[in-house]
Subunit: 325 residues, 2 copies
């Protein structure tokens, strides 16, 4: 790899002059600039960002830690975070914790060692106390973290209400809520809480079910759903806490000979690509993924510049009507 | 952020001694080591990887450039690349070119400036000649690049044959092949070539159709598919060049009143998560995504260490029977 010195030698100028051209500092004649640029091109010179970063306190890099890359919700989030970061001149280091405590900790240390500007930490079940002393801004998305810099969430409470009321308004008499993970307290838990309170308010019969962590990790809910639906044959309306679960509900119900939305109506959550790729398409609660990703990057960059940022940002959701309800 | 000097001051030792503990060099007593480690923990010290990288020729970072993050095929690839890289102690910088020439070039320059060990470049329609002089290994996946270091591909020719023969064996009389993008030459083009040659060999009537670049970018094939299927009402077997297209074919055909697989049989390509989430599930050609991702990382790391690597690696495909055919 060519160095600044090589470029200077190539065009018979001093390193100082070449550096001034590179950094747009001081007066440089048009001819000198052209000469330097030609030499850089010829030697295929690229400024060394590693060296530049060393003189600054941090790099223009954002660590992004997700529990699953290939889960459609996180894939969409990552895509939007990368886009928002790129627009601000930041690059992202992507880390897949696989929902594991020790992986998350390892990745946080790696991010810290690599002097990232900050870390965006996506929902995952882990409470990592080590974060406290990490000195770098940590922005969480759909996750509680007392010691984090800032949290971005969608209005899960409102989403749960919208979904449940829509099923009741459409004539459902016996409702079921299916959530992805049990155990750790997460903002998404508000979806189930809203479901229960709307059912009780309206005097509608209801069941709730949540899967084991292993099922969430494999992203294969078929056996779990078959078991739950066999136990509760009277259910005619289901609020699933993700579109991934809703897609598998369509498969399991179809195999059981039920017609959707005639026999059973379904409302999902997330509004990721899968919701518009199933047959029938999934009626769902739209999470403002693009806005959440942009907010996470904005807050992180502001915090890394020492600015005061909102401790919590709550973004609105909406109901998207497709064919399952 | 605490420095090595801070740690040395904290435990009343020299920077040299602390550095020896950190790098496991020379004899260090158990007591000294414990003292240094306690100080590091107290000050929350993290070794500066940026400084370490500067003394080496490159970083333990791999640039990963994809045309779409949220496309299920690339999401799955990214997940597997991250996993393979992580196991080898490498981190990934993820870049979304959105299939754009200038974005890809910009990201390649960024990767080069950040002294990555190499770049893994995923299928995208762009021919970037600038790569030639970049001096860093470039491994392509499902993409031709004369000047790249190495290419990883699945056996697209075999995949096209398997899919087409399976439709014919299952009684289809009029076949249609739908491919994602036209224009740039890509290894995936072999799928269509195999389709045509098997149809001609077996004397089966066939059509082919490929979408515009815009459709591929939006990932919304509904209008395009409706148009093609309205033109060719006699089709009873379709080979789609991706599961994403196959999922949308199920939707469009269902809306046209056709039953799958009774009236029309479908075979997809990729075997990504969407193939097992639709109703009915998609019969498809399995790409060995995990093995391709691992091979890409292995080849890249070997090349970055100056080893001689295979110019081209071709991995086998297989037919996965689900419900659409």
């Amino acid at each position: 790899m060519a160095t600044l010195k090589d470029v200077a030698a190539e065009c018979n100028l001093t390193v100082t002059t070449v550096s001034r051209v590179l950094n747009n500092r001081g007066y440089i004649s048009k001819e000198t600039r052209a000469k330097v640029e030609a030499a850089m091109k010829k030697l295929n010179y690229r400024p060394n960002e590693v060296a530049r970063s060393l003189s600054k306190k941090s790099t223009n890099t954002i660590g992004v830690i997700v529990p699953h890359i290939r889960h459609p919700y996180f894939a969409e989030m990552i895509s939007n975070v990368e886009n928002a970061a790129s627009k601000k001149g930041y690059k992202i280091i992507l880390c897949n914790s696989r929902g594991k405590d020790e992986m998350e900790r390892k990745y946080l240390e790696m991010c810290s060692s690599n002097r990232v500007a900050g870390v965006i930490l996506f929902s995952g079940g882990v409470a990592v106390e080590d974060f406290v002393g990490s000195n770098i801004p940590i922005v969480t998305v759909e996750r509680f973290l007392e010691s984090g810099t800032a949290g971005i969430e969608c209005d899960n409470k409102e989403g749960g209400e919208l979904a449940t009321r829509y099923l009741i308004e459409n004539g459902c008499k016996t409702l079921l809520h299916i959530s992805g993970v049990t155990g750790n307290a997460m903002p998404a838990d508000d979806r189930a809480k809203s479901f229960v309170s709307v059912c009780e308010e309206c005097g509608v019969k209801y069941y709730t079910a949540s899967s084991e962590v292993e099922v969430y990790e494999n992203q294969d809910y078929h056996d779990f759903l078959t078991k739950v639906l066999t136990e509760h044959q009277d259910v005619d309306g289901i609020f699933a806490s993700s579109d991934l679960i809703a897609a598998q509900l369509i498969q399991v119900l179809t195999k059981m000979g039920k017609s959707i939305p005639k026999d059973v109506k379904i409302v999902g959550f997330d509004d990721v690509s899968i919701a518009s790729l199933t047959t029938p398409g999934i009626t769902t609660i739209h999470q403002p993924i693009k806005e959440m990703a942009t907010a996470a990057v904005d807050v992180l960059v502001a915090a890394s510049e020492g600015k005061t940022v909102a401790k919590r940002t709550l973004l609105p959701v909406s109901l998207v009507k497709r064919e399952t309800a």
